[in-house]
C-alpha cells in the first residue's frame, strides 16, 4: 500500500476492483465504510461477481475476468477527453511533459523492439529525450505530439466506450457512471483511492492492471495524498515483510537486485544498479544504492566481508541474465527430475500452485522434502495423495512441528507497512519450535558438516554470520531484528550539512536511519528499508503503542514503526503544490512551514521544488523525480495494453492482432495444456476465497468453528446457465478444464450474470481455492487442479483469475 488501512477513511471515492474486501479483508472494509460515514464517500465495486462487498457499495459493476485494462484504459480516455485530470499535478509531478524518443512506436498491439521468437522486447527505443546537459526535455504546455501526455492520449483514444463495452461486457451506462464518479476526484480537495487484491495480480497482465490504475491516480493527482494512493489489500499476514526480505529469486532483502552472471564484479554490479541523474532537482535517492547493498553484504558476512574480497560478492550465487526461477519454473524443473530437494515452509503448494496436478507429479520426483508447519497438509503428504501408491515413492519426507504465531516473539508487517511487534504468550506444544529456530539449527548442522568435511564452494556457508541465539541456545528474534536494522561497525561521525550539525556514533550502536548507511563497509544493515526500526540506543520502535494522532488523519505515528523511516503515506510531498502548500487544506498531510516540512515524515527533507536551488521533485525514488505515465520498466510496454487471458472465450483480441500478452513465457511441458475458445470448455472461470478460510485453507480447515461455517468446495453458477445445463442448487457437479477436474456442490445464484462479449453471450463461474483432499475427507480437492501454468510477464504471478472450464452434473 502506498497509504495504510486507517487512511482509507480520508477518501471521497473508493474504487474496489480486483478485491472482495468485505469478505476477505473485513476489517479493512470497516475503514472503507467509515469513509462513507465521515465524508459521504462513494464506494464502487467492479467485479465479475456480486459479493458482500457489492452489497454495501453504492453500485456494483460486473466485468468479465481478465479485461481490467480495457475497462481502465477507457477511464484514461474519458479523463483526458473530458479534461478531468489535475493539470497542475500532471505537469509538475509526472513525466507527462517529457518527450518520447523518435524511434518509439506502437502498432497493432506491439511496441517497437519486439522479438517474437524470444517473446521479449528490446527496449532501446523506449526512451525519453534529454537535452545537451543530460536533463529530460519537457514541453510544459503538453502540446508537443511526441510528449508523453499526447502519446498517452493517442494510445487510449482507441479505448472507446463501444470497444470497452464489447470487450468487458460492461454496459456503456455503467462505464460512464464509474468513469464520471471516479474522475470527479481529479480536483485539489478530493481524494480517490483504489483497493485491489489478488483479483488484479492473478492475471498474465497483472502488473499492468495495477499500472493502468497508477496512471489514472497520477492523472487525477491522487498519489501521495491522504485518502488516495493505490492500496493492495494483501492476503497473507506477513506478505509485506516476506516480500521486503525478498524470499524471492530475483531480489535480495530491501528489493536490491539479485546478482546475475554477466556482472562478475561488485563494481560492475553497483555501476549497473546505481541510477544517475543530471537533473539537480532530482533527489534520485537510489544513487545511494551501494550503501544499501554493501551494508547488506556486511550483515551476511560481518568482518569476513572486506573491501579486498568485494565484501563477499563472489561467494553469492548468480542468476543467468533474463532467466526466471519462480515457483512455476521450480515445479517445471522438478517435473523434469532436475530438482532433488525442497524446503516447504508454512505453505501448501500442492493445493495453492497453478496446475496442481503437475505440481503433485513433480513432488514424486524429489529425493527429499522438508516441511515446516503447525498442521499437516497435502504437500507434506503427497506420497499418499489421491491415486498415489506410497510404495512407489522414493522421497524422504520430514515434517517439522512449528510454534504458532502467539507462541513466539517477533515482528510482522501489514500491508500498510506497519511493522508491529508480537509477544510470546505461551510455550509451543510438544517438540514444536519457531521456524526461525529450525532455520538456525538446520544451518548450524550444515555449517558443522562443511567445517568438518569441507565441500564445494564452502565460503558463503562457513563465513555466514549466524549467532542469533540467546543464552539458552534458542532463536532470539530481537537479535535478528537488530541485525536487520543494522549497526555502526566502527566509530562514525555523521555530518548533516543542511543543518550544520555533526553526530558521533560509537561502534556497536544501531543505525537510526538508512541515511547513515555507508558503502565502505563501516555499517551493516540486513535490510536497509528497516534501518530506523530501532533508535541508536536500542529502543525498539516496532513495539510502540502510542495512540496520538496529531494530524487527525489517522497516521498514528507512534504506533509501531512504518518503513521507510516511519513515513505513513509514501510520495507525500506530492500532496502539496510546488511551494509546499497542501493542495487540500482540509486534509493537511504535510506542509512546508518556514524552512521545514510539518506533518507526516516527508519524502526527504529538501524544500519543495519551486526552490530552484535546493528544492527537489516529489517522487524521490524515481530517477527523474516524477511519477511515470510513460513506464519503460515494464516488460510488455510503457503504456498498458489490453490482451486476452492465456485461456479465454475469444479467438481474436478486439484491440489488435495480438491475442495474448506478447511478453508472457509459455510453458511447454506435457502437462501444460491450454484450451482457448474451445467448445469443450466454454465457461470463463475465476477463483477466490471466503471469510472463514484463508488461502489454501491449510490452517483454517483444521479449525472446527471455521470448517463448520464453510465445510466444502462449491461452484457458484449463474441461474441462467444452471437452467441451461439442468443443474439444480445443491446438486453435485464436475468442473473440468483441459488440465484436470474437481467435484463439488453447485451453488446456483444470481451473483453471476452472463456477459455480452463481442456479440456473444459469455457465462462466468467461480470456485473458492480453500480446499484439499487431506482434510476434511469429503471437502473436495484443490481448485488449482484446473488452473494453467502461466504467469504475469513481469512477476510470474499465476493466472488464477481467468481460465476456461466446463461444468456437468456429476
Amino acid at each position: 500500500m502506498t497509504n495504510h488501512y486507517c487512511d482509507i477513511k480520508n477518501s471521497d471515492c473508493i474504487l474496489i476492483m480486483g478485491s472482495n474486501a468485505a469478505e476477505h479483508h473485513p476489517i479493512a472494509f470497516k475503514w472503507i465504510l467509515r469513509a462513507r460515514e465521515l465524508n459521504g464517500a462513494k464506494i464502487i465495486h467492479v467485479d465479475p461477481r456480486y459479493t458482500r462487498t457489492s452489497a454495501r457499495c453504492d453500485y456494483h459493476v460486473p466485468l468479465r475476468s481478465g479485461t481490467d485494462i480495457a475497462f481502465l484504459g477507457g477511464m484514461i480516455h474519458y479523463i483526458i477527453e473530458n479534461n478531468k485530470y489535475f493539470k497542475d499535478y500532471v505537469v509538475n509531478y509526472t513525466n507527462a511533459p517529457f518527450i518520447v524518443g523518435p524511434d518509439f512506436n506502437f502498432q497493432d498491439g506491439l511496441f517497437s523492439g519486439y522479438d517474437p521468437e524470444k517473446r521479449k522486447y528490446n527496449k532501446d527505443t523506449w526512451v525519453l529525450e534529454k537535452d545537451d546537459a543530460g536533463i529530460p526535455k519537457r514541453d510544459m504546455t503538453l502540446s508537443d505530439p511526441r510528449c508523453v501526455f499526447q502519446m498517452l492520449k493517442a494510445h487510449y483514444s482507441r479505448y472507446t466506450l463501444d470497444k470497452v463495452s464489447s470487450i468487458t461486457g460492461v454496459s456503456k451506462e455503467n462505464l460512464l457512471k464509474v468513469y464520471s464518479e471516479y474522475s470527479a476526484t481529479g480536483v485539489p480537495d478530493k481524494a480517490g483511492t483504489e483497493c485491489y487484491a489478488l483479483g488484479w495480480t492473478h492475471h498474465t497482465v497483472g502488473s499492468q492492471n495495477i499500472r493502468t490504475m497508477a496512471i489514472i491516480q497520477l492523472l487525477l493527482g491522487n498519489m501521495g495524498i491522504a485518502g488516495g494512493g493505490i492500496n493492495a489489500l494483501r492476503g497473507e499476514p506477513n506478505v509485506q515483510g516476506s516480500t521486503d526480505h525478498c524470499i524471492l529469486y530475483g531480489n535480495l532483502p530491501g528489493y536490491l537486485k539479485m546478482h546475475v552472471a554477466s556482472l562478475d564484479t561488485l563494481e560492475k554490479y553497483l555501476h549497473k544498479y546505481t541510477p544517475e541523474s543530471k537533473d539537480p532537482q532530482s533527489a534520485n535517492y537510489y544513487s545511494n544504492y551501494p550503501k544499501f547493498h554493501v551494508s547488506f553484504l556486511k550483515s551476511m558476512f560481518d568482518d569476513k566481508a572486506t573491501a579486498e574480497n568485494e565484501f563477499g560478492y563472489p561467494w553469492l550465487p548468480k542468476l543467468d541474465d533474463g532467466v526466471a526461477y519462480s515457483l512455476m519454473h521450480l515445479f517445471d524443473k522438478m517435473y523434469e527430475g532436475k530438482v532433488k530437494g525442497l524446503f516447504s515452509v508454512a505453505n501448501d503448494p500442492a493445493v495453492s500452485s497453478p496446475n496442481a496436478g503437475k505440481v503433485r507429479k513433480a513432488l514424486e520426483k524429489l529425493d527429499w522434502l522438508v516441511g515446516e508447519n503447525i498442521f499437516n497438509n497435502e504437500t507434506y503428504e503427497f506420497w499418499r495423495g489421491p491415486g498415489v501408491d506410497p510404495k512407489k515413492i522414493k522421497t524422504e519426507v520430514f515434517l517439522l512441528p512449528a510454534s504458532a504465531t502467539m507462541e513466539k516473539e517477533g515482528s510482522q508487517s501489514n500491508s500498510g507497512r506497519w511493522v508491529q511487534w508480537k509477544y510470546k504468550a505461551a510455550e509451543a506444544p510438544g517438540d514444536a519450535i519457531p521456524v526461525g529456530e529450525m532455520t538456525l539449527k538446520i544451518m548450524d548442522a550444515v555449517k558443522e558438516l562443511y567445517a568438518k568435511e569441507g565441500g564445494v564452494h564452502p565460503e558463503p556457508i562457513l563465513n555466514l554470520k549466524w549467532d542469533y541465539t540467546d543464552s539458552k541456545g534458542r532463536f532470539d528474534a530481537l537479535k535478528v531484528s537488530k541485525q536487520i536494522n543494522g549497526y555502526f561497525l566502527q566509530d562514525t561521525v555523521i555530518e548533516d550539512k543542511a543543518k550544520g550539525t555533526t553526530t558521533t556514533f560509537k561502534k556497536g550502536q544501531l543505525v537510526p536511519t538508512f541515511g547513515n548507511l555507508q558503502a565502505d563497509g563501516s555499517t551493516s544493515s540486513g535490510n536497509w528499508i528497516m534501518a530506523g526500526s530501532f533508535t541508536a540506543d536500542g529502543e525498539n520502535k516496532m513495539m510502540k503503542r502510542g495512540k496520538e494522532d496529531p494530524t487527525g488523519l489517522g497516521l498514528f505515528p507512534n504506533w509501531s514503526f512504518a518503513w521507510p523511516v516511519n513515513r505513513r503515506v509514501i510520495y507525500n510531498r506530492a500532496s502539496c503544490d510546488i511551494y509546499g502548500k497542501p493542495y487540500n487544506p482540509k486534509r493537511k498531510l504535510l506542509e512546508w512551514v518556514g524552512d521545514k516540512w510539518v506533518g507526516d515524515v516527508p519524502d526527504g527533507p529538501w524544500p519543495p521544488m519551486a526552490d530552484k536551488e535546493k528544492g527537489k521533485y516529489p517522487f524521490i525514488m524515481k530517477t527523474d523525480g516524477v511519477g511515470a505515465l510513460f513506464g519503460p520498466g515494464m516488460v510488455e510496454g510503457p503504456f498498458p495494453e489490453h490482451y486476452e487471458p492465456l485461456e479465454g472465450p475469444l479467438t481474436k483480441n478486439p484491440m489488435s492482432s495480438q491475442l495474448i500478452n506478447p511478453a508472457i513465457e509459455i510453458f511447454k511441458g506435457e502437462l501444460d495444456k491450454v484450451a482457448n475458445a474451445s467448445e469443450k470448455y466454454p465457461y470463463v472461470c475465476t477463483t477466490y476465497s471466503c471469510t472463514e478460510h484463508w488461502c489454501s485453507g491449510a490452517l483454517t480447515r483444521w479449525q472446527a468453528w471455521l470448517l463448520e461455517a464453510m465445510p466444502e468446495l462449491y461452484i457458484e453458477i449463474g441461474d441462467l446457465l444452471a437452467k441451461e445445463k439442468g443443474i439444480q442448487n445443491g446438486q453435485r457437479v464436475k468442473v473440468s478444464s483441459i488440465r484436470g477436474s474437481v467435484e463439488c456442490v453447485a451453488m446456483v445464484t444470481k451473483r453471476f450474470t452472463p456477459f455480452q462479449v463481442e456479440g456473444k453471450t459469455v457465462h462466468q463461474v467461480g470456485l473458492p481455492f480453500n480446499y484439499g483432499w487431506l482434510f476434511p475427507k469429503d471437502g473436495g480437492d484443490s481448485t488449482n487442479l484446473l488452473t494453467p501454468t502461466v504467469g504475469d510477464a513481469n512477476t510470474f504471478c499465476p493466472e488464477y483469475k481467468a481460465f476456461m472450464v466446463n461444468v456437468e452434473r456429476a
Binding site: 505461551a426 517438540d431 528474534a477 504471478c797
Partner: protein
C-alpha cells in the same frame, strides 16, 4: 486518563481490587458496573495479557491473549480494543484464533518422518532429524553445484534444491531464510508473495 477496556484489565489485574483504583483519582462510577461484571471473571482478571497480531490477512489486527499465570496456558484470545486498526473487532478467522493454540488437537507436536517407499509417518527426535537433513542438504548441494553456466560465466549456484515459503512467519524468520538460501547458493527461492 482514559480507561480503555484493556487498560482497565491491566490495572485491575495489577492492583487486585477496584478499591485501590480510586486512589488513582479516577472517577469509578462509569466503570463500577463493569467491575462487578469482572468479579465473575476472576480468571481473566488474574491473567497475564499478551498482545499479538493476527496471522491471516495483511490488515494486521491486534489480539490479546489471556494467559493463566499458574499453568502458563492461553485460555482466551480476543480483539485488542486499543489497536488503532481493528479497535477490538475481528473477522471470523481472527475471532477463532484460539483454535490455533495447543487446544487444537490437530497441531503437530512431534517431528514426523516418512522413509522412502513407506506408507506411514514415524516420530523422530530433533537431534537425528537435524543431522539427517544437513546430510541430505550437503550431499545434494555438493553433487549438483553449478560453478559456471553455459556461457562459461561464474555462477556458483545450487539448482537442485528449492525453497518455498513463507509469508506466514515473522520478519526475523523471513530474513534468516532469505539469507540462508543465498548462503547455500539456492536460486529457486519463492513464496506466497507470488502466488
Amino acid at each position: 486518563m482514559d480507561i480503555t477496556r484493556r487498560g482497565f484489565l491491566h490495572l485491575s489485574g495489577a492492583v487486585g481490587s477496584g478499591i485501590a483504583l480510586s486512589t488513582l483519582g479516577i472517577n469509578l462510577k462509569p466503570t463500577r458496573a463493569y467491575a462487578d461484571e469482572l468479579n465473575k471473571m476472576n480468571r481473566v482478571k488474574a491473567a497475564k495479557q499478551v498482545t499479538t497480531i493476527c496471522c491471516y490477512c495483511s490488515v494486521g489486527c491486534g489480539l490479546v491473549c489471556s494467559v493463566d499465570k499458574m499453568t502458563g496456558k492461553i485460555f482466551n484470545i480476543e480483539g485488542d480494543a486499543d489497536h488503532p486498526i481493528n479497535e477490538g473487532s475481528l473477522c471470523a478467522k481472527g475471532a477463532g484464533f484460539f483454535d490455533l493454540t495447543e487446544a487444537n488437537k490437530h497441531r503437530l507436536t512431534k517431528v514426523l518422518y516418512r522413509a522412502p517407499m513407506s506408507d506411514k509417518w514415524e516420530e523422530k527426535d530433533w537431534d537425528w532429524t537435524l543431522k539427517r537433513i544437513a546430510r541430505l542438504v550437503k550431499d545434494t548441494r555438493d553433487a549438483g553445484f553449478v560453478k559456471t553456466n553455459a556461457k562459461g560465466e561464474v555462477v556458483n549456484r545450487c539448482e537442485t534444491i528449492g525453497h518455498l515459503g513463507s509469508s506466514n512467519v515473522d520478519n526475523e524468520e523471513c530474513w534468516l531464510m532469505s539469507v540462508k538460501c543465498r548462503a547455500l547458493g539456492l536460486v529457486y527461492i519463492d513464496h506466497q508473495a507470488r502466488v
